[in-house]
Symmetry: C2
Subunit: 338 residues, 2 copies
DNA sequence: TTGTAGGCGTTATCAA
DNA sequence: TTGATAACGCCTACAA
């Protein structure tokens, strides 16, 4: 940081006030002067110091997102798409995106929130992978800081964000599997306290009910939303002998990828011997072998939309819709059709 | 931003100086006082305003990384691992990571650099996907701002960062394919100006030479490092009739995934009819069907190491190694063995 | 060991 | 239409 507004002003024999206003587009500056200033700023390579601006304006042009990663070195394409969406939309509004990772409800996570929110580093937060009881949402509400969430916790008094209608879309998926002649349909979820687990599991059960199929707790398992977790849990399900499932429905695509691998290693054919389906519709899902049936959510666009909503909140602009519901789209691919 | 150091000081009937120093761990503060202050700060929910601190200290605790994304809504697991590594290591040092995406050498990219670097928003940058002639590196050098890069441009006078020995590792891969009886080995790269393309392509050619195989320009194609690009280009290669390759070596795993799909759609079997190999060793590669042979780089750890180096640079600490070379590890999987 | 005071670079208020 | 000046919250010489 070497060149300041003072340098520009001195160079032009103007006051810093005029320079500041010329650059900020105030209309009480002579057009001629503005041209001069803009030109000089560009030539001199001046860009306003963000810290000073933030301090003075008492607001920041930064939003934050903390990836809820349980393990170090994790990797889930859901997050790259999500972050790309957040970043692109933020950039479009000259906002910046602060990113970090922390295990849910960990001390590290809390420290980050504290630093970012109470330190005024961010003007708003994006949250997802919501839990039924989620300290983050309570915290953000108490701090009265702008935030939007993907998925909704029942404790959220004033929910602003997007939720997917997992319950209904999951039922569509189950119906599809039933049409394909599958009856012993297994479900691999995540932590039961997760909103997405609750909803997708509910949809799964309702789907069975509609089809007149019995609910069998032995066909339900919980993993951790990772490929590895899906793999391990699916292996166990496949050992069930006569109780072996004819289909495995997973809480997300990563889990499904793991399950597919387990099926394959068991010497069975995905799509023929056992149907496998996921949820999210990440780009990978079209490239697996066989391609994966999934409930697709437009992750990238959801992220952009969330940022749009968040910025409106931050800028105190009216929000057309405070709550948006999306119906994931059933993409039927080979993994569920013999 | 509501509770400041002043509030804490007033609450305790101390001066702000004392509070500031107590919290920053200076040793000229009575232990008793420190306890009091720390306690009060916690209770009152005080966290220093980052903007004020940055302005005063004339340095920031933020580093930046701009994802070189060519298309909106892109998704490459390489980047999620990379970002997770950057974020984790930054967090470990109480630094924050600013992330955005921009097409290489675009106006948007330049605007971001300007805002971040000249605006003092970041104290250092991480750069990768380097080009032979790369404006970012020149810019960062001119601005005299700390930066590290993954891959090295020949124009980098003072390179600090990590480079993979693509040339040698690629030769290992070619040797492996030759042992497997493959002779018509194709190469799908990226833009020729990319360092990784230059190096991997060089390794490819040297590998052919060592094996006494002729170099055939018709077996070389350029895509864009995406799955879709790899898919399209591989389709063309497969149409070559009698010139059809027996193996396809790709610049990265994403390209290889696309190529695998093309092979599959052509009714051929990956690993038997045609061998396919990638580069990077992203987590996905173990889960494809068949699993993908690849040259693995520890992306997550590379990212962490880069941040370690960058922070040393920023803090003016001595760097044990300014330049680290990594030899990617050949992971032989089914995609190259019949 | 603690307190006083100046200034980091901006923007906003007020006066010219 | 432009300029002088105060303040944003913090850190750090320097003084007590």
């Amino acid at each position: 940081m070497t060149i300041t507004i003072r340098d520009v002003a001195k160079h032009l024999n103007l006051s810093i006030t005029t320079v500041s206003r010329a650059l900020d587009g105030y209309d009480d500056v002579a057009e001629e002067t503005r041209q001069l200033v803009t030109q000089a700023a560009l030539e001199m390579g001046y860009s306003p110091n963000r810290a000073a601006r933030q301090l003075r304006r008492q607001r920041t042009d930064t939003i934050g997102y903390i990836i809820p990663a349980n393990t170090a070195g994790f990797s889930d394409p859901f997050f790259s798409e999500f972050i790309a969406g957040l970043g692109d939309e933020a950039s479009a509004h000259n906002f910046d995106l602060l990113v970090s990772t922390a295990p849910p409800a960990s001390l590290a996570e809390m420290a980050l929130y504290r630093r970012w929110v109470q330190g005024g580093k961010v003007g708003g937060m994006v949250v997802n992978r919501i839990y039924e009881k989620d300290w983050r949402l309570e915290y953000l509400a108490v701090q009265k800081i702008a935030h939007v969430s993907l998925e909704r916790s029942s404790s959220q008094a004033d929910f602003v964000g997007i939720e997917a209608d997992s319950v209904n879309s999951m039922q569509d998926l189950i119906a599809h599997l039933v049409v394909q002649g599958r009856s012993k349909i297994a479900y691999i979820g995540g932590l039961p306290d997760l909103i997405i687990d609750r909803d997708r599991f509910t949809g799964y059960k309702l789907g069975l009910k509609s089809a007149g199929l019995p609910f069998n707790p032995h066909l339900v398992a919980h993993a951790d939303l990772t490929r590895e977790g899906g793999y391990q849990v699916a292996k166990l399900l496949l050992l069930a002998g006569s109780n072996q499932p004819g289909a495995i429905v997973c809480i997300n695509d990563q889990t499904a990828l793991g399950a597919m691998r387990a099926v394959h290693e068991a010497g069975l054919k995905v799509g023929q011997d056992i149907a496998v389906a996921g949820f999210d519709g990440i780009a990978d899902s079209a490239y697996t072998q066989p391609p994966l049936t999934t409930l697709q959510q437009p992750v990238y666009n959801i992220a952009r939309q969330l940022v749009t909503m968040l910025l409106a909140l931050i800028n105190g602009e009216p929000l057309l819709e405070r709550q948006i519901t999306i119906l994931p789209k059933l993409l039927i691919r080979e993994s569920t059709q013999g």
